[in-house]
Amino acid sequence: MDETTVISCTVNGEAVEEIVPARLNLVDFLREKLDLTGSHVGCEHGVCGACTVRLDGVIVRGCLTLAAQVNGATIETIEGVTATGEVADLQEAFLARNAAQCGFCTPGMVMSAAELLTVNPDAGRAEIRDFLSGNYCRCTGYQAIIDAVETTLAGRKNGGSTT
């Protein structure tokens, strides 16, 4: 049986068609083939969240999804949501609060936080913590990240800027 498979999908708005090894992880496909190296590879077994990307509108682990599985799907990465400006306010808040230090966790953190901003616009600090519990950060101690997300939530509610 064939150990490669054909996929056609949309990545950050662009159509992609490719023959991939069946065992290739989605995040490795994005990084190695499409040069979208914003999604990071940490633990590779679902624990750290560095590989978080959007698949058909919801966040998933890029290391626990096969490239072979995204046939017909829509993928968005940190590069995509940055380009559309969807997370501009969140990124600004991260910067203002120094919520990115080494930056390894940051793309995954932003992708996760972006989902929280849409599914629970009324989240308090405890809910922000809960929602981001699947994303490890080894630098910031999390407080600054929670602050940045809180600021962004408040900013969006007021319909204005985050500063």
């Binding site: 590779e44 077994h45 599985q69």
Partner: protein
């Protein structure tokens, strides 16, 4: 599947080196999992046929939130993955008379947000946010959770507590197994390798019933060191039909039937500590806990007592 256990017990700390494969026009790309073939199944019959051909060399791929981790760590090396994510017949949450029927491919996030579940299965609604993290709940499925039967998983404990039935299908037909007879031991269930978890049928919970769900974890969303799913009927001050199902304490969910029976008929008035003491005494005798790498058996027994106390305290506070 003892290999899976070592993965869990090591807390995933094991390192696996990258393997590189050559891909035309891409140069060398890193891969983690051993090589396998992949089929996107388009019908149940196709799944049954492939399973008949490949037997134990083929794995069902549902949410992949456990299987992919095992493959990345090379704890499993199947020849073929049969992806069932396209099979709509296995999806959905529906009412069926006095029960709610949950398709095997229903994702954790759908249970978490379902109005039917919130109304009729409040225990499950309460358990869902404890399962892993949002990105994992967006993919993981109830069928995968039940087929895998991790000893610390929430859904197996809930379906045992709610006396649900598991519907299994294979090329040979279908059969139904009571959840209370389904979980045999560590990653060991009544399911034959060629059977799919097609659906879980959970009796609707009577409005008079009370629920308690709680677990103790190193980090929110991690597998529990100890957990308790409990339900009870309270008439005035009197408890009856107390159902206690512990998870994370041994190889499978444990229904502490003797303890539940002993507490039934007890009045939740006066000295609640005395009732808790009596329940603890039976529990200590009934419960057999097993150590894992994080907690000793003694620690787990202690956590079971703590959770039981919390449950009874909550029931006493909320009695009508």
């Amino acid at each position: 599947m003892p290999s899976m256990v070592s993965w869990r017990l090591r807390g995933g700390a094991q390192r696996v080196r990258y393997r590189y494969v050559h891909q035309p026009n891409w140069g060398k790309i890193p891969v983690k999992a051993p090589p396998f073939a992949y089929v996107r199944a388009t019908s149940l019959d196709q799944v049954f046929d492939l399973k008949a051909q490949h037997g134990d060399d083929a794995r069902i791929l549902a949410g992949g939130q456990s299987l992919m981790a095992m493959l990345n760590l090379r704890l499993d090396a199947p020849e073929l993955l049969i992806d069932i994510n396209g099979l709509d017949a296995l999806k959905g949450i529906d009412e069926d008379g006095d029960a709610v029927v949950i398709g095997g491919l229903t994702r954790h996030v759908e249970l978490e947000r379902s109005a039917l579940v919130a109304t009729h299965l409040p225990l499950i609604a309460e358990a869902m946010p404890n399962i892993a993290h949002p990105a994992i709940r967006n993919r993981g499925t109830i069928g995968g959770s039940i087929a895998l039967a991790d000893p610390a998983a929430e859904l197996p404990a809930c379906v045992v507590a709610l006396d649900a039935e598991i519907k299994l299908v294979s090329g040979a037909g279908e059969r139904t197994v009571k959840a209370r007879e389904f979980f045999h031991g560590l990653y060991d269930t009544a399911r034959n390798d060629d059977e799919l978890v097609a659906a879980v049928r959970v009796p609707k919970s009577p409005v008079s019933r009370r629920y308690f769900f709680s677990e103790i974890t190193p980090r929110r969303g991690d597998f529990a060191s100890a957990g308790l799913a409990a339900t009870v009927e309270i008439d005035g001050d009197t408890m009856s039909d107390l159902t206690l199902v512990f998870f994370g304490l041994a190889g499978r969910p444990i229904l502490a039937a003797r303890t539940g029976d002993a507490a039934s008929g007890a009045a939740l008035t006066g000295d609640i500590d005395q009732i808790i003491g009596q329940v603890h005494a039976v529990l200590d005798e009934e419960l057999e806990t097993q150590a894992d790498l994080h907690s000793s058996a003694k620690m787990k027994s202690h956590l079971a007592r703590v959770l039981t106390k919390r449950a009874l305290t909550q029931f006493a506070a909320g009695r009508s």
